[in-house]
Amino acid sequence: MNTALYIHIPFCRQKCSYCSFVSAPLDKRAPAVIAALKQEMCLYPKNTKIDTVFFGGGTPSVLENNALPQLLAAARERFILSENSEITAEANPESVTPALLAAWRAAGINRLSFGVQSANDENLRLLGRLHTFVEAKKAIRYAREAGFEHINADLIYNLPGQSTAAFEADLHALLALGIDHLSCYALSIEEGTPLAEMPLPIQDEDIAVEQWMSAGRICAQYGLHRYEVSNYAKPGAQCRHNLHYWHNDPYFGLGPAAHGARRANGCWLRTANVPDINAYLQAVFGEGTLSQSTQIGREEEQFESIMLETRTTEGLRLAAFEARYGVRFTERYKTAIDCACAQGLATLSNTHFALTERGLLLQNRVLLSFMD
């Protein structure tokens, strides 16, 4: 089974008001972090077959033009990247230039993911974004000109006070740009973020559901289909890297706060790197603990597979489950399956256990009965 490679770039020009991830303003530690990332690759087995690479963040596009190409070259040296590997980089509209995109393209990056978030400048300001929608459109145009075929945009819905009509307008404006992938997330206001401190109208669950439904409907009009709770793609343009996560397949996570999962000595192991940049550098170059690993028991690993795979509209692949665990899914979880199907939250075919539209929205409730 091939492995996915995630590389975390922990820098941003400025932190967004809703963000609870690990990132710091771009500073002089950037070259050290890049060196550390290369170094960290050496901790993983040489010649591992890598299928997808994802540069996430943070904002990878704030780095020097040659940073990602360098990292990619190092990865090719250490691992074996498959011929048709999917290599994605995240970018923010305000920090992409034609030169950067050309350098990325030349290095083999073949998919871009833009944090567009909204087509409404007022909302962009509320979210603490540094770009306008016009800039986002420009960035996507540059990407096309640089030869990128696969472009994703992130869009946030259920913003405070946002009507469904306003959201639909955002969606049309974005899809009209011809992107082949959309990640559309409900805003979740995390504790400790600036947004949590603002006196905002309460987000209504029913409006969220309404907007999620209209996302599915409108995306379909542009040829994009929901293939995971929050993701839509044109046929063949699904993000292979993310599908990798949802299939609970192994991945290496490099960089501060990056997570990974892999099988080591027969045990399913989840790893989490130290979140602090300095501690990360210290651990890679000097002394200190780089990552914490947790052994995941068999039952729990099975549950992870269910939790992740049922997020996809394709659903849990019965044959793959049985091959991986030697357990027949339909027998082991009969009660939970029957219960979900009886409530109209899921369907069971000969090949898949898949959640219905209502089931996807209530996935947590479905999962609870798989925890017994």
């Binding site: 669950e205 029913d206 559901v209 997570h259 549950f303 939790m307 929205l361 996935q363 947590n364």
Partner: protein, 602 residues
């Protein structure tokens, strides 16, 4: 010889209204006598429960033996028994006082004589104790020691000549208190040669020693090896250890007449060290047992259930252990359709109930579901029988009821004049009947009201405190039963009556209460996969309705590599919460929902 030793003993309590500085004074006395090294000293040293320290109140009486070299050149043994200050624990106080010859009455120099001051003084007088008044907090800006002295003389009738004016906080004049204890409190009387006669005034369970009896020896002596008999139960045990508190347990050779200490006799069964019982020497018994204590009457009842049904026997064990510490708790098994097996527990008052619930949760690590408190109603049935009802669920059908009566109390509220209006308004709202009002000299008023007990068991005390900015004090005594137009208010969830939520209310208050409970429940019940109607009903008649809308979205927006662990944790938390829910018909009810019934608006 014996008398000489007894002459050097002083047994005393500190009594006061809550917050007047009892525990702080106890701290200073312990420090001053060197009983505890200063470096080991912590605040409220006798309040060993976390709950006591957190709330700054004393719940359990605690005793400590101190050695004090007085100015007359002799060293005295002082036994201090710290007592609770809140009205609910007056029973606890009365037990402790029976073990003393004197009481230090602490009065706050700015607050003056309060309801509980008086109540405690009467108790002390009932026990023929010598009372030593002490004015505390004289260092505070609002202190008016002279005025407070006049109050003590006028309202209590105690001589305040030479009464120490102290600050227990800073230690000012605390030495005078020790001197006066020696000179004013009489030494104990008793015959060390007579047969053993000791009063159990408290007891607790120790995991290693078994049941520990805290006693005052009146006659004779007791040492390890003595075969003792509990005169109430007739059971006999061999003493393995005797000792005193300092404030930790210190074993000693013997306890003799006049002394306060503890007796350990590997007593396994908590019920065998009943508070109020007399201990005597089995081989040479005393003729007559001490009168013991009047049993405390529980006034407030509620159902207590384990949140996790499998913890039922743990709950029983915990209640049994607490009962050893606090004989005023009563409990008997009851079964609720909604909550399964639990116990109907009786308490002395609301604070008592709250404290016991907290102790069960903390000290025994139990998760509890508690039903709304109820009082005991007297019901005359049409067939002429009379029943007492402490659980609304068991109310007979209306057609079988001739008359229903509810317990009344006479409430005494002392408040600064400013708050009179708002407090009277509150009492009217609670169906109170005004009795009288007296103006005290210092701008304060005593208001008497007759109130139904079932109106004050909910939130009366909190409402009173908030309306008077904490200044009003409240005390009550039972004042018999009165006929009343009472109805049972049922709550239906998704069409089914939830027995644990039923309450008995006055007809006139039923509509407002029903609406308020339904609203509170709507907020407390999490959305489920279907819509849940909440209805309040009297008999078959629906008087209020609310709806919990169905959940439509419960999924994490994002879930990628890094989120998996976090997501699993969220689900585990959700699962944990679900486990703690009660399945009532098709509806899952969180424990908090049961509290909704308790929280009323004013």
């Amino acid at each position: 010889m014996n008398n000489e030793r007894m002459d050097l003993i002083r047994n005393f309590s500190i009594i006061a209204h809550i917050d007047h500085g009892k525990s702080t004074l106890a701290d200073r006395l312990i420090e001053l006598t060197g009983t505890v090294q200063t470096r080991d000293m912590e605040e409220q040293i006798l309040d060993s429960m976390d709950l006591e320290r957190e709330r700054g109140i004393t719940i359990k009486s605690r005793s400590v033996r101190m050695q004090y070299p007085a100015s007359d050149g002799k060293t005295y043994t002082l036994n201090l028994i710290d007592t609770p200050g809140h009205v609910d624990f007056i029973y606890e106080v009365s037990r402790s006082l029976a073990a003393c010859e004197g009481a230090v009455l602490v009065v706050d120099a700015s607050q003056g004589v309060e309801a509980q001051t008086l109540a405690n003084v009467y108790l002390a007088l009932d026990n023929d104790l010598e009372i030593l008044p002490v004015i505390n907090k004289v260092d505070l800006p609002g202190a008016m020691p002279e005025r407070v002295k006049t109050e003590i003389e006028d309202q209590i009738g105690l001589d305040t000549e030479g009464c120490p004016e102290i600050s227990a906080k800073t230690g000012l004049n605390v030495g005078d208190v020790l001197e006066q204890i020696v000179s004013i409190v009489p030494p104990p009387e008793g015959d060390t040669e007579a047969p053993l006669k000791a009063l159990i005034f408290d007891s607790y369970y120790d995991n290693y020693k078994g049941a520990v009896s805290i006693v005052r020896v009146l006659d004779g002596q007791c040492a390890a090896g003595t075969r003792i008999r509990m005169m109430g139960s007739g059971k006999e045990f061999d003493v393995t250890e005797v000792g005193y508190f300092s404030p930790d347990l210190v074993a000693c050779e013997k306890l003799q007449a006049g002394e306060v200490g503890y007796i350990v006799a590997s007593i396994k069964n908590v019920a065998d060290t009943r508070v109020g019982d007399t201990i005597t020497d089995a081989r040479r018994p005393t003729e007559e047992a001490l009168p013991g204590y009047k049993t405390a009457t529980p006034m407030v009842f509620c159902g207590i259930y384990p949140a996790d049904r499998s913890e039922h026997s743990d709950l029983r064990e915990a209640l049994e252990k607490l009962q050893l510490n606090d004989a005023s708790i009563s409990f008997e098994p009851e079964t609720s359709q909604a909550l399964g097996s639990g116990y109907r527990c009786g308490f002395l008052g609301l604070l008592h109930m709250e404290i016991i619930q907290e102790r069960l949760e903390r000290e025994f690590d139990l998760d509890l579901v508690t039903t709304a408190p109820s009082v005991i109603y007297r019901i005359y049935l049409t067939d002429g029988t009379e029943i007492y009802l402490d659980n609304p669920t068991n109310l007979p059908p209306v057609t079988e009821i001739e008359v229903m009566e509810e317990p009344m109390v006479k409430a005494t509220i002392i408040t600064p004049e400013t708050y009179t209006g708002t407090i009277m308004e509150l009492c009217q709202q609670k169906r109170g009947v005004f009795l009288d009002m007296q103006y005290l000299d210092s701008g304060r008023v005593t208001i008497h009201y007759k109130l139904p007990l079932n109106e004050i068991v909910y939130d009366f005390f909190d409402a009173l405190k908030s309306r008077s900015r904490g200044y009003a004090s409240f005390d009550y005594e039972l004042a018999g039963y009165e006929a009343s137009d009472l109805v049972k208010l049922d709550i239906l969830l998704n069409g089914d009556v939830c027995d644990a939520l039923s309450i008995i209310v006055h007809r006139e208050r039923a509509y407002a209460r029903g609406r308020s409970i339904a609203e509170k429940l709507r907020e407390a019940i999490p959305r489920q996969q279907f819509e849940i109607p909440i209805q309040a009903a009297i008999g078959g008649k629906i008087i209020a309705r609310e709806t919990v809308r169905a959940v439509r979205k419960d999924v994490l927006a994002k879930c990628y590599g890094g989120d998996i662990t976090r997501k699993k944790k969220l689900l585990e938390k959700q699962k944990e919460g679900k486990k703690r829910m009660r399945q009532i018909g098709s509806v899952e009810l969180p424990s908090e929902a049961f509290l909704a019934v308790l929280k009323m608006d004013n």
